[in-house]
Amino acid sequence: QLTVQLPQLESGNQTGCWSLIELQGSFESRTLAEDNLIDQEEKLRGGLIGDLLFSRHSGQPLLIVGHHLLQGKSVPLEKPLAVIRGNQIVGVIRNKLVFRDRPKPIIASVTKR
């Protein structure tokens, strides 16, 4: 029998607390591969997904993935999500970053270095 018990840790903004980023599509799907967003190989090798930035004033999350810029938002969850590992609740998530809008291509311009 399993019993789920919760550690005393509450979710917050410090390391060690669980966070959730939601991306439209899956890493295995062809659309993401076609858009050159994520290479499936990367997933296996601890590879880079992208770079996460937050707008200074609005706090809007921005994700640069491959040659695309994704603009997202921070959304509170309707109901909290418990993260369960084994028979323990190891974290609680109450917000997520969602990136749902169409990615904007970043055009590399030739610059002199």
């Binding site: 029998q1 640069i64 109901k79 909290p80 369960i84 590992r85």
Partner: protein, 426 residues
């Protein structure tokens, strides 16, 4: 098995282990990337994170479970716990001390990326040594990618799921039968009967629902095993108790438990007498020395017994018979038999003289739990019902948002006759 909880602060996939394969991106790399995206460093909060997959993904090891805030708060405070109940071949059911839930998986086509080291605002708003602008590049890792989460759907367990675990063949029939049983028969009974702890873990219901249902099916715990009382026993024991009360000048409003059990000891195992007293007492919980018996419950037990004996009775015959059986203990009334019998009076029939009404056994317990199936049986037994008559037959499948009203809206049709509302099949 209850494991003591650990406070888990850090995941095993720390950034350091990734560094060997992928050195941290440099400030220049990021600034260059940002300028291509037409984002200047002054537009962003200083902490920029390069998000990587962890070296070892935990997709199969972690699960997301949606919980109500209220339940979560109780779990955090340690006021309640969630337990998986049932046997391996059954659907997953999680229980708190009071409630029962089925676990359903909700799939999404999106990727849910979980991390323990990704910073969010306001932690990203300041970085040491960077006052006037500029960025600090940090590494963060995604520990797992999920495409589904689990949600809990409340269930209301009914007596049927408990009866599956308590076979009739192992029911307790009486002193004589117990004593006459040979070793093989006794062993068979023990083998078929769960212990209380086994029942607690295999019955897919919360502990408090189990307790309530054990009372409603007249189960008893004897010698470490839980068994049903044979259906005739409660009425027999009550009859004996009532006789003993008359002989000893006891009142059923203050029955001395030990004396009562002792006086019946030749006929009935005192543990059985105690259980029958408990099942008919006004107070729930542990029995005191002196107990008040509930006259309505006594009335119900005798009525139940009579209903099972015959197929149908004229009400004019049934009522006196019933009253005689109950004698002084109660004044009988059909509402004591809610959920046990149906009368044949047709609604809207103006001639309601007692002679024209018959009553027959129709127990709620034997109806299917499935809502559609239950309504089919109800409307087959009687075409039109009042809400009042229906309620005892819906009570066991209602909980939370599932109310008799919501069920009727879905499965029944309303009509009016003589200023009263009647429900019938759609």
């Amino acid at each position: 098995l209850i494991l003591a909880f650990k406070i888990i602060n850090k995941m095993d996939t720390s950034s350091k282990s990734n560094a060997a394969n992928f050195p941290i991106r440099s400030q220049e790399d990021l600034i260059g990337l940002m300028s291509m995206a037409k984002i200047s460093t002054s537009e962003v909060q200083p902490v920029v994170q390069s998000v990587h997959f962890a070296n070892e993904l935990l997709d199969d090891q972690v699960m997301l479970l949606e919980l109500d805030e209220a339940l979560l708060a109780k779990l955090i405070k340690g006021e309640d716990r969630l337990e998986v109940k049932g046997s391996i071949d059954q659907e997953a059911v999680l229980c708190t001390s009071e409630c029962t839930y089925e676990v359903r998986e909700v799939e999404t086509s999106n990727s849910l990326m979980l991390s323990t080291d990704t910073l969010m605002p306001p932690a990203t708003a300041s970085a040491e040594g960077l006052d006037g602008g500029g960025i600090q590049v940090r590494r963060s890792s995604i520990a797992a990618v999920k495409h589904s989460y689990a949600e809990l759907r409340r269930l209301k367990p009914g007596p049927a799921s408990l009866r599956c675990l308590l076979p009739q063949s192992a029911s307790y029939r009486g002193l004589v039968e117990e004593q006459e049983a040979d070793a093989d028969a006794a062993a068979a009974v023990a083998a078929e009967s769960p212990t209380m702890e086994q029942l607690r873990t295999t019955a897919q219901m919360s502990d408090s629902e189990l307790s309530r249902l054990l009372d409603s099916v007249n189960a008893i715990e004897l010698d470490g095993r839980v068994r049903l009382l044979h259906e005739d026993l409660p009425q027999q024991v009550l009859s004996a108790l009532m006789s003993a009360a008359v002989e000893n000048d006891w009142t059923l409003a203050a029955l001395p438990v030990e004396d009562a059990c002792a006086s019946l000891a030749d006929l009935y195992d005192p543990r059985v007498t105690r259980r029958v007293i408990q099942l008919h007492s006004v107070q729930s919980g542990v029995l005191g020395d002196c107990v008040e018996l509930d006259s309505k419950l006594i009335s119900r037990t005798f009525g139940h017994f009579l209903l099972r004996l015959g197929s149908a009775y004229d009400l004019s015959v049934f009522l006196p018979l019933w009253q005689e059986a109950v004698s002084d203990a109660a004044t009988v009334s059909l509402d004591h038999l809610a959920g046990l019998c149906l009368t044949s009076s047709s609604p809207g029939d103006c001639s309601e003289s007692a002679d024209s009404i018959t009553v027959r056994y129709f127990p709620a317990d034997l109806l299917p739990d499935n809502h559609a199936a239950r309504f089919a049986e109800l409307f087959k037994a009687r075409a039109k019902w009042t809400l009042e008559d229906l309620q005892p037959y819906l009570e066991s499948v209602c909980y939370g948002k599932v109310t008799p009203g919501s069920l009727l809206a879905r499965y029944a049709r309303v009509s009016n006759a003589n200023g009263r509302k009647y429900y019938s099949a759609r």
